[in-house]
Amino acid sequence: MRAIVIEDDQDINQQIVSRLKQEGFAVDSADNGVDGLYLIKEYPSDVAIVDLGLPQLSGLDVIKQIRAAGSNLPILILTARGKWQDKVEGLDAGADDYLVKPFHQEELMARIRVLIRRAAGWSDSSLQCGPVVLDPSTQRVTVSEQEVELTAFEYKVIEYLMMHAGEVVSKSVLTDHLYDDEGDRDSNVIEVFIRRLRQKLDPDDSLQPIETLRGRGYRFTLIPAKTN
């Protein structure tokens, strides 16, 4: 998952970024509205965290411009004022949720997870596709209630694929959403991780959860238990 953090206070910005990285996100960050808007337009991402009181371009204007460009990117606003007028204006401009400073990092993470799930059409807190269940809050994956041991990167791959279960996800999209920097992007690495995931999730080859579509990418084939 890729997140964009736009917050002008260096300390808070860093706290959020390091926490997101800890949670396995690829993170881009900006400390003003203009740079932030550029990041959002240029990099495909899964969620944006936008402070309302930004220099150069206010958070409200950033959100309005993102929505005017037709993007459905889930946006969470941070407000120091805590006034309902700010919250309602932010949500009215197109934000999806708000958080008043100061906040608990856990709360921020929980809200972000909800927003990402909601955007992908999931309503439950855990993702379930057939016998495969992924719990984002604990980052654990079970198959038929048996826990599967995954590395951090393997988890990122399966989370993204399951989040978009049924959709074709190209290698470049996967790398965009999983890698932090441009440098170490190697699509062969993705192939290695997919192969390992197949072995771990489906050792006897009975489920075949991940399908390879030659030249197009991968698809998580198990039917998602989405309620809406």
Binding site: D9, D11, I12, Q15, G53, A80, R81, G82, K83, W84, Q85, K87, V88, L91, D92, A95, D96, D97, Y98, V100, K101, P102, F103, H104, Q105, V114, R117, R118, S123
Partner: protein
């Protein structure tokens, strides 16, 4: 006396009437005196013409009036109301032919005295001119005689009365005409004041920002100063809010950093971290509460009317987004179009906090209803949550306000709502909802 118009009309009425009455009385007196003088002069002229006809009688010892030398016809005409009588020391010695009733000698003059008087005699009003004359007889002995003229005064008084009637009639007509004229002048003169009233209303209704009609020079300084005042109020409000926003920003961000630090597990013992977080929470709540309280506008004198239902719709739309993952249905029922006279951010604060609470504590359903009841608007917000016990209902407000005792999770929202509700004198009640949860009822009378 509430209006300037009625005050001025009353004063003008008193002044006009007093002036007219005094003028009339003076005029009446002058005319009366003049008419009386005219009567006296007429009688004097008559007196001299009668005197010209006086001569010794045939005996030569006394005098008489020779009718042949009298020219005044009225003295020959019985009942003409004009009579002449001549007396010597003892009795009447001559009377004019017109004299049809007895006239007694009433006067007692000193020699050569001429006396004019107005008297009542035989139930009638008369003018009387009496002249005491000396006349020599044939022996050149001077004797005293008295020549008396009577004139019926009723014509005179009838004429005087007619004059008075005409005078008063015209005075009343003049007063009425002048009052009507004054009324019209006053309407014209007070028009700028009425215009100011209309403009103030337009400013209150947010149809205008300032006084921009052209006013007469006497009122212009007032409207110019009011414009300055309005402008300064708007600027001051803006500056005040900006300053508060800056303060919120500058205080809350360090608090957020402190909180973030306290959550880094390695550097603190569990107990320290807990204390740090607790104190951090409290500082944050106090800062939030005080800032919200200060930012509250509360009963602004020229608050612009805002539409309750459109703000409700905006808030509900925002909260539907926030609570969509919870599957709460927020139902808003109202076809009101009424305007409330209060600050928009204050109203949003009330609606946001109360509806947010309903969504937070409700299970699946939140119901909002606004209706108009005569002079007030009643807004109810209900949820289907667990609700509160009766004693909790009683304490809900006091608990919210006592910040130093609030537990984490009990936001400052309700305390802020309570402050705003107090400032605007809005009624707020908590009850058990038929949906099972809490029902908050607000009664706005500032419509």
């Amino acid at each position: 006396m509430k209006s300037i118009k009625s005050r001025m009309m009353l004063t003008s009425l008193i002044v006009l009437v007093a002036f007219m009455v005094l003028t009339a009385i003076a005029l009446e007196r002058a005319v009366e005196k003049r008419m009386l003088t005219a009567e006296e002069n007429n009688l004097k002229a008559l007196m001299y013409s009668v005197l010209a006809a006086v001569d010794r009688d045939s005996t030569g010892l006394s005098i008489t009036v020779s009718d042949a030398r009298l020219f005044e016809n009225a003295l020959f005409d019985s009942g003409s109301g004009l009579y002449a009588l001549l007396y010597d020391k003892k009795a009447e010695i001559w009377r004019s032919l017109s004299t049809d009733q007895p006239f007694y000698k009433l006067t007692d003059l000193s020699p050569e005295e001429l006396r004019f008087s107005q008297i009542e005699y035989n139930d009638r009003s008369w003018f009387q001119l009496a002249f005491s004359i000396r006349w020599p007889n044939v022996h050149d002995k001077l004797s005293l005689y008295e020549l008396v003229l009577w004139k019926n005064a009723e014509d005179h008084f009838a004429q005087l009365n007619r004059f008075k009637q005409t005078l008063w009639l015209w005075l009343v007509i003049t007063v009425v005409l002048l009052l009507v004229l004054m009324w019209l002048v006053m309407l014209w003169g007070l028009r700028p004041l009425r215009l100011i009233g209309e403009e103030v209303q337009a400013i209150e209704n947010n149809q205008k920002q300032r006084f921009d009609s052209s006013y007469p020079t006497e009122i212009k300084p007032l409207t110019q100063n009011l414009n300055l005042l309005l402008q300064r109020e708007q600027h001051q409000m803006q500056r005040y809010r900006n300053a508060l926003d800056d303060l919120a920003h500058s205080l809350k961000t360090p608090l957020a950093v402190l909180r973030g630090l306290s959550e880094k597990s390695s550097e603190w013992t569990d107990e320290d971290r807990h204390t740090l977080q607790e104190q951090n929470n409290r500082m944050n709540q106090i800062v939030s509460y005080q800032l919200q309280k200060a930012a509250m506008v509360g009963g602004q004198s020229m608050a612009r009317p805002i539409n309750l239902v459109s703000l409700l719709e905006k808030t509900v739309a925002a909260l539907r987004k926030v609570y969509s993952h919870k599957g709460v249905s927020i139902e808003l029922k109202s076809d009101l179009n009424s305007l409330l006279r209060m600050d928009e951010s204050d109203l949003l604060e009330i609606l946001g906090n109360l509806i947010d609470n309903a969504c937070k504590y409700g299970r699946k359903q939140v119901r909002i209803n606004a209706i108009q009841l005569q002079q007030l608007i009643r807004l109810t917000i209900e949820d289907d949550g667990a609700g509160l016990e009766p004693e909790q209902l009683q304490n809900i407000l006091t608990r919210g306000i006592r910040l130093d005792q609030t537990q984490e999770g009990q936001g400052i929202g309700l305390a802020v709502v309570n402050d705003i509700v107090d400032a605007y004198d809005i009624g707020m009640k908590f009850n058990q909802s038929i949906l099972g949860g809490l029902e908050v009822t607000l009664e706005f009378s500032n419509i």
